[in-house]
Amino acid sequence: MVALRQAWLLAVNDLRQEARDLELVLTSTFFSLVVLIMLGMSFSALGISAQPLAVPGMLWLSVAFVGALTLGRIFTREREFDTLRALLVAPVERVSIYLAKAFVTIVILLGCCLITVLGLTLLFPAAQPFAERPLETFALVLMGCTAYAGVGTLFAAGLASSSGKNVLLSVILYPLTMPSLLFALVATRSLLEGHESFLTYLGQLTATNVIAFVVGAWLFEPVLVGVPQQRRGAARAARRRR
């Protein structure tokens, strides 16, 4: 519970800073609008039967790009002023930092999804199920964004703490988030086509989330500060015993 309360404090702190300069909000909003307009113009002539194939790609492509921008910026902010180190030496559960950053990323991505889903609904008749089934749509984008943030936060933190370059984030992030995005893509298509399998896909996406967050929370501290020698020694001894 301490970890969750500290995560909430850290997330509120990030959101408070964001509210003062709106850097991420403005970047992701305009980026989403540009992607929407470009894709809308490119695919406006698409037949209604082909639209359920294209619309999910447009939605999750926006999430993938805005997510990379958001994750890069969230940790660059910490790196610029070295505040991540201040948190790492404070009496803060390291997993709280992971949860806070993931939460802020999810909030930004949900904002991006709101714009994109509304735009797609207006531009493409096949995207009407988004408006007709708002609860399912919300569950879908929430699960998709959460899965993306769960995986992405871990690697963005690793690069921020090792003076890695942001370009590496994209190189690492896109392949690693691909499974989550594919699950989200398939689930979106089944929502648009009205398949009963939507809930199954949503369940699989939720399971992906659980795995992403368990692995992310478990690996976050070693990624940031390394593995203590005693634990490495214990692991080596266990391997020798086997």
């Binding site: 301490v2 309360r5 500290q6 404090l9 850290l10 702190n13 408070r16 800073q17 003062r20 300069d21 002023f81 070295d82 505040t83 180190r85 201040a86 790492l88 030496v89 404070a90 009496p91 803060v92 559960e93 500060v225 390394g226 593995v227 203590p228 020698q229 005693q230």
Partner: protein
């Protein structure tokens, strides 16, 4: 010092690939003493500080703080670090910066000093509601120190805290460090500023070749401490020489 050390480092080694920075270093830090750590650029002072603070695991050796080898949340609540970068959030005010860390500490069950008096103590009371991004480097350094003092730490680790400070700021820092030492805190201070070190430290150690190569303590009533510290510093390799060592 006869009582058990608050911080004990035994055989600490650290290598980055094939480069060995620390090679079996031993050091004790007791409550109520200020130890100055000097060494040439690249000697491993900041690496040692990172290992003590739990930001980096040693490649070998044992680090014990207050009887514990761990650097978990409870241990981190008992020490504080002031780095050579201020590590403050520029869009938050000075008070909000302290408030965040005070709340985080409170969630972990830690004690907190009152926020505004802590800022007053560091001469920042007048700027409490200004965003840290508008502060000078010296003010940021004092804000970082205020954050470190919030939890009345048993151990304070400071990396070049005098660097950005003007003369009044240096005097204030020396006074605050002496007060903390008198309260019983153990203080490890990295600095290239020998004059400042001599004025506040009870002991100065030289880090060279990855080990503690010299140790000079202030003798009761002795007045040769400054000379002995300068002599110790004179053993540091000349600029560029460490690269060939």
């Amino acid at each position: 010092m006869s009582e058990a050390a608050l911080l004990e480092l035994r055989g600490i080694g650290k290598h980055f690939g094939r480069l060995a920075v620390l090679r079996g270093l031993d050091l004790d830090l007791h409550s109520g003493e200020i130890v100055g750590l000097i060494g040439a650029n690249g000697a491993g002072k900041s690496t040692l500080l990172s290992i003590i603070a739990g930001l980096m695991p040693p490649s070998r050796g044992q680090r014990t703080f207050a009887g514990s080898e761990g650097v978990g949340r409870d241990e981190r609540a008992r020490f504080a670090v002031v780095s050579h970068t201020a590590q403050t959030y520029p869009r938050l005010t000075a008070l909000e910066n302290l408030e965040l860390f005070a709340k985080l500490r409170a969630q972990a069950g830690g004690h907190n000093e009152a926020l505004r008096p802590t800022l007053d103590r560091l001469g920042l009371g007048y700027a409490a509601d200004r965003q840290a991004g508008t502060f000078s480097r010296g003010m940021l350094q004092r804000l970082a120190l205020a954050r470190a003092l919030l939890g009345r730490p048993e151990m304070l680790l400071l990396d070049e805290p005098f660097t950005a400070l003007d003369r009044p700021g240096r005097t204030l820092l020396a006074t605050v460090l002496a007060q903390e030492r008198d309260r019983g805190a153990a203080i490890l201070l990295i600095s290239h500023d020998l004059e400042a070190l001599v004025s506040v430290a009870d002991r100065v150690v030289l880090l060279e070749g990855g080990v503690i190569a010299g140790d000079v303590a202030r003798a009761p009533g002795g007045d040769t401490f400054a000379e002995r510290v300068r002599s110790l510093a004179g053993r540091m390799p000349a600029v560029g020489a460490e690269a060939h060592a």
